[in-house]
């Protein structure tokens, strides 16, 4: 069975290594080079975003955030990302279950298909959804330029996250616990709810965090599909781009900072969840 591509919740394996060593001259130099590169590429640019958001003072910052168009874009983004994450909690767990516990011809293909949304360029993702659910839909379903299209695009790009975090945990579950539960008279539903589900919860939570973060930050797949209509289908990323194109760096940075805070929050949550899992195991 192929393993997870997105292995956010990969269970911590046994470590055979002793305590990590302290830095030598060569590794210290390597660390220095790596840190300079990482700072130039990631840390300084992201810090500049936060710094620029304060350029127009508190009033400028607050003014941008309370601008009605920005506010509705942020609200739409958060609500849709949340709804899609809920959908993924159910569907992702179900898909992982089918991939691990069921057997049927073509299962291997299903396993590969799950990764397609992760690898497919986002603009292509938008185009493929548009061709089935757009104006020329062979199904006669046209959701282009509606909020449903935002939901669909997010559901597409976030499909693998929960599947790939739950799958490895489900594979490692011991059968005898379930057998014990059954022999004590529990039916399958009770066993699932009381025995299996609790051990899946950390993996589901980790996947949900990734899925929510991705939903908040999505841009490419929405460009062709949602039409970016102000106050209707415009998401936060598009709002940032509009500000950039209008030369309003401070406002762009303000919305971007809000999105960064959400991303950072998710990362901290993920780290906490994974440490809790590691402690248990």
């Amino acid at each position: 069975m192929s393993q997870a591509v997105i292995s956010g919740g990969r269970p911590a394996r046994k470590r055979r290594s002793a305590r990590p060593g302290s830095l030598t001259i060569v590794s210290g130099l390597g660390l220095g080079v790596a840190l300079v590169w990482f700072s130039l590429l990631v840390l300084i640019p992201l810090a500049m975003v936060v710094a620029t958001s304060g350029e127009d003072g508190w009033e400028g910052f607050w003014g941008t955030l309370t601008n009605s168009q920005t506010l509705s874009a942020v609200r739409l983004t958060v609500v849709q990302a949340f709804l899609v994450t809920l959908l993924n909690v159910v569907m992702g767990t179900m898909i992982a279950w089918v991939l691990v516990r069921d057997r049927f011809p073509g299962k291997r293909i299903l396993d590969v298909v799950i990764d397609i949304p992760f690898a497919l360029p986002t603009i292509v993702a938008g185009l493929v959804l548009l061709s089935l659910y757009g104006p020329q839909s062979p199904l006669g379903v046209d959701v282009a330029n509606t909020r449903i299209s935002v939901f669909m695009a997010l559901a597409f790009v976030t499909l693998p996250f929960i599947v790939r975090t739950v799958q490895p945990v489900l594979e490692e579950l011991e059968a005898d616990v379930e057998e014990a539960s059954a022999s004590l008279g529990a039916n399958r539903l009770t066993t699932f709810r009381r025995i299996i589900l609790p051990s899946l919860v950390p993996a589901i939570a980790a996947g949900a965090a990734l899925s929510f973060a991705r939903g908040i930050s999505e841009y490419g797949s929405l460009v062709l599909l949602s039409g970016n209509l102000p106050n209707r289908t415009e998401v936060a990323s598009v709002r940032v781009l509009t500000y950039i194109e209008n030369g309003d760096a401070a406002s762009a940075a303000t919305v971007a900072t809000l999105m960064l805070v959400v991303a950072l929050f998710v990362i901290v949550a993920l780290d906490l969840i994974q440490r809790r899992v590691a402690r248990r195991g």
Partner: protein, 273 residues
């Protein structure tokens, strides 16, 4: 394995199976297959027309250049940072390890904005200085490479770190105590055991780099036949009512990413044997 476990009743199994397959089919398989269908609707005409369009060929070449350069940079820094994170102890290690994942959660547009604020030749933090030294970052390939490296940064590291943790460092210590230097130890001992993890990381980074859109759009300036990558061509051709060219280019990108995914899934099982 599955047969040894407790099975659900056939009805439940069939329901779950059917819902799962229907969901994935409607969300992924059918839409993706339509791009293939639209591309080959008139035989090879759409593909050959778009491959003779200089805007498309220039973009494909640029995409290849940017993606390959980014993958090489991420390979070198990814393996280096993974070794540092697993094998050494230094202050701030946990913070660095958490920050490494940050690019996965940052919106591509925000990545573009961040690079713009630092490297913009007129208003950026370092931009004017670099510009005076004759180095153009924004609206040129260095900026596009940086944006692509940024978004694919964690992929190699996330593959290599768990493997390094699992293999431990006993063999490396043995090699060192027998008199091998650091380069020999890395080449003869460490590299062979992390080989597959590195390969997965590289293939995933390649798929991600070929398809980067939002961040590149912001820093490239989207100039036709100059800084327009393949993903940007898909957008501009689609909106310019050259749909068959848009579909053909999208098909090429989709084919590349699906091949990457298939390569990973074929290589994966070798890990356990």
């Amino acid at each position: 394995m599955a047969s040894a476990r407790l099975r659900e009743p056939a009805g439940v199994r069939w329901t779950l199976r059917v819902i799962t397959i229907a969901y994935v089919f409607l969300l992924v398989v059918w839409p993706v297959s339509l791009v293939v269908k639209y591309t080959f609707e008139d035989g090879l005409t759409a593909l050959s027309t778009s491959l003779s369009d200089p805007a498309v060929t220039t973009a494909l070449r640029l995409t290849a250049l940017v993606a390959v350069t980014s993958v090489i940079l991420n390979l070198v820094f990814g393996v280096g940072i993974s070794l540092l994170l697993v094998r050494y102890e230094f202050p701030g290690k946990r913070i660095l390890s958490a920050l490494i994942d940050l690019p996965l959660s940052v919106s591509p547009v925000v990545v573009g904005l961040a690079l713009l604020l630092v490297f913009n030749p007129r208003t950026g933090l370092f931009g004017p200085g670099l510009s005076a030294a004759g180095i153009e970052v924004i609206f040129a390939s260095p900026g596009m490479i940086m944006a692509t490296v940024f978004v694919a940064l964690p992929l190699v590291i996330r593959e290599v770190v768990p493997v390094l943790e699992e293999i431990g460092d006993e063999q490396e210590q043995a090699s060192r105590s027998l008199g091998a230097n650091a380069v020999q130890t890395f080449r003869r001992i460490t590299l062979p055991s992390i080989k597959w993890a590195v390969v997965y990381g590289v293939v995933l980074s390649l798929a991600r780099s070929l398809g980067e859109y939002g961040a590149v759009k912001v820093v490239s300036g989207n100039i036709v036949e100059q800084t327009q990558t393949a993903t940007l061509v898909v957008e501009s051709k689609y909106q310019g009512f050259e749909q068959s060219t848009a579909y053909a280019t999208a098909f090429l990108l989709a084919a590349a990413s699906v091949i990457c995914i298939i390569v990973v899934s074929i290589l994966r099982p070798k890990e356990s044997s």
